[in-house]
Symmetry: C2
Subunit: 260 residues, 2 copies
């Protein structure tokens, strides 16, 4: 399903939300954009900025933080194929700081182009709207995560979410994902202290649910992690288009989840 052009991850993501035709994909390839590279913890957008373009993530991870000093709370994370600031297409104000977690490659697309694209392709217009709704559902799930889980299950749930979203765009198929972010980043996303994040990760390692060495992270026991986190991917709202063996395994794992 790798289409080989810069927006292939975005195409995967959109195709998981709505039925896209070859014409729709063709329109995507012709979309003009500016490619930019960012270093770890570099700010891409800052609170109060004006914006007339969207930030499409091609490689790496981005995070929204409410403060860009040292350890501002992370309110969401973007993976490749995401449009991190899609909402600015509809309300062009930046109420947070968009920070790269590790090196990242992004494509800036003018709002104007996305609006033209929406007019020419109802399917893409619909997919963008569903992407917005999906972001909302993810945000609601973060509220649940912070509100009703302890540090261990919170971290486990976050890892499940990131992995599932990566698999959605063809990454992390073997439960091995690049992890350029630091333990402090994980702490900021789970709202725990960096020290406690460290101990939490050690606990996950001890349970053989996580290997994290250097900049690679592997999940040796996906069903186990899913069970611990009580992770149910339904909220991601994906059509689960291409059922690969890995996704079948993930599906089987889901059946293992103990009902709340």
């Amino acid at each position: 399903m790798q289409t080989g052009f810069a927006f292939s991850k975005l195409a995967d993501h959109l195709a998981n939300l709505a039925e896209l035709t070859a014409d729709d994909l063709d329109l995507l390839t012709k979309m003009p954009s500016t490619i930019a590279h960012f270093g770890s913890h570099q700010a891409i957008l800052r609170h109060g900025d004006a914006s007339n373009q969207c930030c499409l993530l091609l490689q790496g991870y981005l995070s929204w933080q409410d403060a860009y000093g040292s350890e501002g709370q992370i309110t969401s994370i973007s993976v490749p194929g995401d449009i991190a600031d899609l909402r600015t297409l509809y309300r062009p104000c930046i109420d947070g700081n968009l920070i790269a977690l590790g090196p990242a490659v992004v494509a800036f697309v003018p709002h104007r182009c996305l609006r033209e694209l929406s007019i020419r392709s109802p399917a893409i217009s619909r997919a963008l709207l569903l992407m917005l709704i999906g972001d909302h559902a993810i945000q609601r799930n973060w509220t649940i995560n912070l509100g009703s889980r302890d540090a261990l299950t919170r971290a486990a749930h976050l890892l499940c979410e990131i992995t599932a979203r990566l698999q959605n765009v063809g990454l992390a198929r073997d439960f091995r994902l690049s992890s350029p972010f630091t333990q402090s980043d994980l702490a900021a996303a789970c709202s725990i202290s960096p020290v406690h994040a460290n101990r939490t990760i050690q606990e996950l390692r001890r349970c053989n649910l996580l290997h994290w060495h250097g900049k690679t992270l592997t999940i040796p026991d996906w069903p186990g992690l899913v069970r611990l986190a009580r992770f149910d991917p339904a909220y991601l709202g994906l059509r689960r288009r291409d059922q690969t063996p890995q996704q079948a395994q993930s599906g089987a794992a889901r059946a293992d989840v103990v009902p709340a």
Copy 2:
């Protein structure tokens, strides 16, 4: 700004999001709906339900909870004029439980009618989209609230948000609001235990930031509460259409906020 018909609060809300003409308001008054009353802690929608209508709140409060047993985490609260399940208009699946906090009056409007309305009035279509984006922003703010504040400031921030949103539709202008919900409800919304919620409320009372007797709640020192909670209403995304004395006071209070 009370227009005197059933949807007046919705009209207020929409008008705060986009410029509405007399024709737009006229279309609203003609919208068919079914009125229903719900008792305290009664479920309006349940996880997994199918839905072909939206639930517009006329009176009272609604909450989304992830479990409807006893004390499931509350992920958001609706005030009059809100369409609690607006997202089902775009993706018709219910991923949570919609519960009344105290007695509530709602109007059910078929999705079909809202879609026709959107087609006939671009302004209302736009306002609905901005309402969705606004809900998203509120959700993001709940993530921040749970992630970066302690019990006292969390409760204070929630009170500020509810008050500001009520004022947005012409309620609680004198910082006196009906509070049919229990301390346990507040606890579920702040993700603290009911016992600790009680102690937190007492602390707010001791600081003269809150009077809560019976089913009425008053805020004697709005600037003080805003300062404690570091509440900045900007995220609500309102056009702040009708500047009343009370709202002017609120604006002055906002200037008092200590920068983060």
